[in-house]
Structures are given as structure tokens and as C-alpha cells.
Symmetry: C2
Subunit: 185 residues, 2 copies
Amino acid sequence: MGANEVDGSGGSSAMRTAETLLRILPMALCVAALVVMLKNSQSNEYGSLSYSDLGAFRYLVHASGICAGYSLLSAIAAALPRPSNLSMAWAFFLLDQLLAYMILAAGAICTEVVYLAYKGDVSITWSETCSSFGGFCRKATASVAITFIVTLCYAGLSLISSYRLFSKFEAPVACTNKGIEITAI
Amino acid sequence: MGANEVDGSGGSSAMRTAETLLRILPMALCVAALVVMLKNSQSNEYGSLSYSDLGAFRYLVHASGICAGYSLLSAIAAALPRPSNLSMAWAFFLLDQLLAYMILAAGAICTEVVYLAYKGDVSITWSETCSSFGGFCRKATASVAITFIVTLCYAGLSLISSYRLFSKFEAPVACTNKGIEITAI
């Protein structure tokens, strides 16, 4: 009960715990996507192919790294039981939104590359590669799939942080108190 | 003055006009991106290339069409001077967010394809195409650039719609009115 009231308009401690967990989950997933992609290289009789040969996969690695770092920092910030203020709510809101867009773009770009690697495109003379580099394509697909789960997490997080920000904007705390006081008098 | 009070917590008429304009702008831009991409085909001595040969560009056309339709409908809905309710605020919020993600994904995917068409990728044996089909690539780039402006519009719109939704959640309208009435009495 006391813990619920410590942080004022920052939400209850149960909500804070839920938010912290929801920020730790994408951190773990980002690290997973990062590791799977970093270890993704294959050499066979057709030649060798590594994630770093493709700009899209390099971007995914960078985006996952940034996302993992931000998720960790924001989980720590969300876990601290101090009263949240407006500028911090704005920072969470804008950064969560930005990360959601960044990680979605990474997932979308890599999906297109994986799609082209599987199917090829005859009209533009891009040959399919996955019959020769099956293992490479499967690992890339796994990494991209994890990235989309991270995107879902961040879509949820930006919903939470926008609720926190804007429900604070016209927060009726002062006026409610006055109303109640006056009624009581 | 009277117009400001018609729609209660739905915001002032100036804000409503601004939101309507911000919804008409992406509609016009989506139609522009759509038309530029639809007319994008080139035939020369190397062969012919049309937007429909590439899955990413087909997706851009569909996404732009959906976005233009939604922008028109939502502009009409935002312009009507009726009192906004919670379920409509939720619908705006979720759809604006969804459209922002959809149009960003379309832009990101097509950016990757345009990048590959300009640069190619030696390690995966995808040749660059833009030296043969320069006009095609320039038109595709223009269409993608417009799509990113639309993405910015929708990022702004989802900010506005989340403000509208969540500032309503704990809206102090009833309590403020009571407070003022009691004070007046």
C-alpha cells in the first residue's frame, strides 16, 4: 500500500514492475537477434557469405545493439521508485517511439533482403541465393523473426509511455483535491 | 468562442482545423507517391522494367493507396464538429499508429531495394541496375522520398491522437466543472 503511494502519478508498483519486465524482454530478444546475426556466416563450394556482406544485416546488428542498450537503461530507469516527472515522461515517450520505428525499419529491410535471397527477382536479374546458402538464410530468418517480436514489444511500450505522458498532462490531481475539499467544507 | 465550446473535450476548433489539414497533407502525398510509382516503367535496349516486377514497389503502391483512403476518411471524421467520444479516440489512436508503422515499413523496404538497385551487392551476385535504368531508379527514389514525408506526418498524427486519447482518460472535465460551480456558489 505504502509502495503504491510513493511515486505519485508515476503509477502503482505493480505497473512499474510490469513495465520493467516489458523493457527487459526486448533487451534479451535484441541480444538474441544480435548474436544470431553476428554468428551468421557460411562457406561452401559456392563461396562464402557473411552477414557483413549485406548492408541491411549490418543495420540490423547496429539497431539491435542500440535497442538492447536503451532497453537496459530504460528498464533501470523504470524500476527506480522515484517520482516521475514530466520531462522524463517526454523522454521515454519520444525515445520509445523512435526505437519502435528504428527496429521496425530494421526488420522490414531485412525481411525484404531475406525474401529476395529466397525468391530472387528475374526481371532485375537478382538470383536467389538460399538454395546455395540454406543455413545462412535460415539464421537470417530467425534473427528477423526475433526482431519483429521486439517491434511488438516496443509498440506496446510506446502505448504505455504515451499513456504515462498524456494522462499526466491534464492530470486532475490538484483540481480533484480542491473539488473534494470544497464539497467536504 | 461558441465554436470552441461545441466539441467539449475534443479540442478547440483551431486544433481541429490543424488536425484536418495534417490529415489532408498525407492524403495528397500518398496519392503523389502512388501515381509516381504506378507510372514508373522503362524500356530500353537492355529490356524493360516496371514497378510491378518488384514486390517492394507493389507493396508501396498498396500501402499508399490504403493510406490515402484512410487519410481522407479520417480527415472528414476529424473535421466534423461533433463531440468526440472515447471509442473514437481509441480507433484514431490505434489506426494512426498502425498506418505510421505500415507506411514506414513500405518506405524502408523500398529504400533497401533502391539502394541495392543503385549499388548492387557483389558477394550475393546482385548486380546494380540503375546504370541501365536510370529513369526508373530516379522515379522510384522520388516516390520513396515522398513516402518518408508521409511517415513524418503520421508520426505527428499519432502523437496528436495519443494526446487526445490519454488526456481524456483521466480528464478532469466533470470535476473541474463541479469545482467551478461549487466555488461560484
